[in-house]
């Protein structure tokens, strides 16, 4: 499909002057051009348990059979509580770690077990924005060197053009291009995150995996960085895999949402389907846990779904449905049989992994109303 070796790959042409008032084309109104297909991907980490004379090697099933696809320019949100495998999924897609099973298809090729050398051209197309703006920039280097390294590795521009190009990128992410010779410690968290974004954009990727890009930032800075990412998505047509646990931000930013629990996808659907008509009990519980601002203004609070107990250990997940130990609908079949991800009635794009799906509305306060 994509010829990585030649220069045939055109950089995304951006007309910034027009896009400010431009319309966002929703993927529903056109054919989805699939960029990335993840099929039954799994990652098990070995854990040694020291009981008795000989240590036993157990497997932590961080990600255990996750499937989804991502279309060009689309944003997929990965949500779920801590430890459900969101970050591991992101690292599998960027191939920072090798999956234990499953396939990751990108550009017509399975990159799941590709060797590092063969991966290099693909690395340009799938980039990552990291969670911790304080850890993601090498403290020993100036911004010029940090972003310049990305340009250098992939020979994006001739050597003489590295500095102007870095300044251009800084300007694109809303930083002063004069600051190219500064070190990361001279920037605030939000500015550092912008540098991280500029680095990811330097190689003109098709897919960006954003691993909780704003969760380490102040709320006011969060909004700025999210606005920047919205703008870049609009102008550059980059597809995002957006990992977050802030449901409000996900609703604001994502076209499609995948809800994960204990290494598995519970429900995938369009934003409206997930937020307004969630069908999986876990999704419903997650949404109902989000704070409701309207209560402050005097509205009657929605009834909360309270989950009992802790998330089971990923070393020894429950049989059948992973969520059954905390589910109020659980019956015998839930322990015996694992529910497959199946499309909801008359909604082929909304899939749910539950034996007893049921539409529940009014779980989240209407954002528009506030």
């Amino acid at each position: 499909m994509t010829d990585y070796t030649s220069d045939a790959v055109e950089p995304p042409v951006v007309d910034i002057s027009k896009s400010a008032g431009g319309t966002i084309v929703h993927e529903s109104s056109r054919e989805r051009e699939i960029l990335l297909t993840v099929t039954d991907v799994a990652k098990y980490f070995p854990v040694k348990e020291y009981s008795g004379l000989f240590p036993k090697t157990l497997q932590t099933r961080a990600v255990d059979g996750v499937s989804f696809d991502l279309a060009k320019g689309e944003t997929l949100g990965l949500v779920g509580e801590s430890g459900c495998g969101k970050t591991t999924t992101g690292r599998l897609i960027t191939r920072l770690i090798e999956p234990s099973a499953g396939s990751i298809e990108f550009g017509g090729r399975d990159i799941a077990h590709m060797k590092e050398k063969d991966l290099r051209p693909m690395r340009r197309d799938i980039q990552m924005i990291f969670q911790d703006p304080y850890g993601s920039l090498n403290p020993r280097f100036t911004v010029l060197k940090i972003i310049g390294a990305a340009l250098e590795i992939h020979d994006m521009v001739p050597k003489s053009q590295v500095k102007p190009r870095v300044q251009e990128l800084l300007e694109l992410v809303g930083l002063n291009p004069e600051h190219v010779n500064r070190y990361p410690n001279e920037f605030s968290g939000g500015q550092r995150q912008r540098i991280g974004i500029a680095r990811a954009l330097a190689v003109e990727p098709k897919v960006v995996v954003a691993d909780e890009p704003v969760s380490a930032l102040d709320v006011s800075i969060q909004a700025q960085v999210m606005n920047l990412m919205s703008k870049l998505r609009r102008e550059l047509g980059i597809a995002f895999v957006f990992i977050a646990h802030d449901l409000g931000i996900v609703r604001h930013f994502c076209d499609r949402i995948a809800v994960m629990y204990l290494g598995k996808v519970m429900e995938i659907g369009d934003r409206e389907d997930i937020y307004e008509k969630p069908q999986h009990p876990y999704t419903q519980a997650l949404l109902s846990a989000a704070p409701d601002l309207n209560v402050v203004r005097g509205a009657v609070p929605n009834e909360r779904i309270r989950l009992i107990g802790d998330v089971p250990s990923p070393i020894d997940p429950p049989s059948g449905c992973r969520f059954r130990t905390r589910c109020w609908k659980a019956q015998e079949i839930c322990a015996a049989e694992e529910p497959p991800l199946e499309p909801a009635k008359d909604k082929p794009k909304h899939t749910i992994a539950c034996h007893f799906p049921e539409v529940k509305t009014e779980l989240v306060a209407d954002v528009e109303a506030s």
Binding site: P11, P12, V13, V14, D15, I16, S17, A20, R91, T94, L96, L119, R120, R123, I126, Q127, M128, F130, Q131, D132, G135, S136, L137, N138, P139, R140, F141, T142, A149, I153, H154, V157, K163, P164, R165, Q167, E168, E171, L172, G174, L175, N176, P177, E178, H179, N181, R182, Y183, N185, Q191, G196, R199, V203, E204, S220, A223, Q224, L228, K231, L236
Partner: protein, 347 residues
């Protein structure tokens, strides 16, 4: 135009303006916009910041000056000895009495007196004695650090069997009784390396090399472990992950991303190794397995002078105090460097 809260829109306008200027392609190269007319901002790297912090440390600065003085004295030893008009290896049997002791304490020809038995000039031997100490200590600590850093980097970053093999080697090296080994090995190795009929200077050169080998052999493992641990921690940092996500080859990640972040521990390990090796070299020479007469060496001189320390303390005290000051200053300097590079220390 530092971005503060709430000025995203103005930023967007500026971006749009820049976009228009540059044409519609993102890739189009613009000249650096607005380069002129704005004040150039001074930026300092973490290493520069650490050295600035070091410069404010008075103890460190005093120690640095003393260390520099010692080094200069070592370098210009022939000049200083020439000033006195003495040579470190010349004997003065005429000034030694029948009781094997010098006939005087100090005089105009021999500023700090002469040693008993052979009548070597103490001052000349003191300034010349700096040379083997610093030479062996500095070169051994550099070699130790290079070996330790390279092996530690590889073990920490590659992991797996590489880590295991290097781990075994470090454990082996650390478990060796190094003093016993030195006492046993130095004479044997010196004999072996020097050949059948070595000249006086060949013997000394071979001994210096053998001492260095022994010190390196005992010292690399500590640095290796330190670097391995730090590399393990750095490997998990997101900027290393980011470099890998960009497709940087392993060598580039190791030497361009990880190594620069080891500057501080490398510097600290060198500066703390030097005084340790000066002490070790003097100790081995004192025990008789280091350098031999007529070479001027502090450890050797201390062992020679200890018999007459009550009657003639100067031949003992001069090299001893020299050793003490050199080791103390280098150690304090090493501590200060370690503090300057560690942002967690506040004084």
């Amino acid at each position: 135009m530092t971005v503060g809260p709430g000025d995203v829109n103005s930023t967007l306008d500026e971006v749009a303006a820049a976009g228009n200027e540059a044409g519609s392609s993102l890739r189009a190269a613009t000249g650096s916009p607005g380069d002129s007319g704005r004040k150039k901002l001074e930026s300092r790297s973490p290493v520069q910041i650490a050295f600035a912090r070091l410069r404010r440390d008075k103890i460190a600065m005093v120690c640095a000056v003393i260390v520099v003085l010692f080094v200069l004295m070592g370098i210009f030893a022939p000049l200083l000895a020439g000033l006195e008009g003495q040579s470190p290896t010349a004997t003065h049997y005429d000034l030694i009495g029948n009781d094997n002791l010098p006939s005087f304490y100090t005089n105009g020809q021999h500023w700090l007196g002469i040693t008993s038995s052979n009548g070597y000039d103490v001052f000349a031997r003191f300034v010349y004695g700096i040379r083997p100490s610093f030479l062996i200590a500095i070169s051994a600590s550099i070699v130790t650090t290079v070996i330790g850093v390279v092996l530690g980097l590889l073990a920490g970053f590659l992991g797996g069997w590489v880590d295991r093999v290097i781990g075994w080697l470090t454990d082996f090296s650390l478990s060796l009784p190094i003093l016993l080994m030195a006492i046993a090995l130095v004479p044997v190795m010196s004999q072996y390396l020097a050949g059948s009929e070595p000249s006086q200077s060949q013997v000394q050169q071979v001994r210096i090399v053998v001492l260095m080998i022994v010190l390196v052999f005992s010292g690399w493992a500590g640095t290796c472990r330190l670097v391995r641990g730090e590399t393990l921690a750095l490997r998990q940092r997101e900027f290393v992950q980011a470099a890998r996500a960009l497709g940087a080859p392993t060598g580039r990640v190791l030497f361009k991303e990880v190594l620069p972040n080891l500057t501080s521990i490398i510097l600290v390990s060198i500066t703390l190794a030097i005084p340790a090796y000066i002490g070790a070299e003097a100790g081995l020479s004192y025990l008789g397995v280091g350098l031999t007469l007529p070479t001027a060496d502090w450890g050797l001189d201390i062992s020679l002078a200890q018999d007459q320390m009550q009657a003639f303390p100067l031949p003992l005290l001069v090299p001893l105090i020299g050793l003490l000051i050199a080791v103390l200053c280098l150690s304090l300097l090493g501590d200060a460097i370690s503090d300057a590079f560690n942002p967690n220390t506040r004084r």
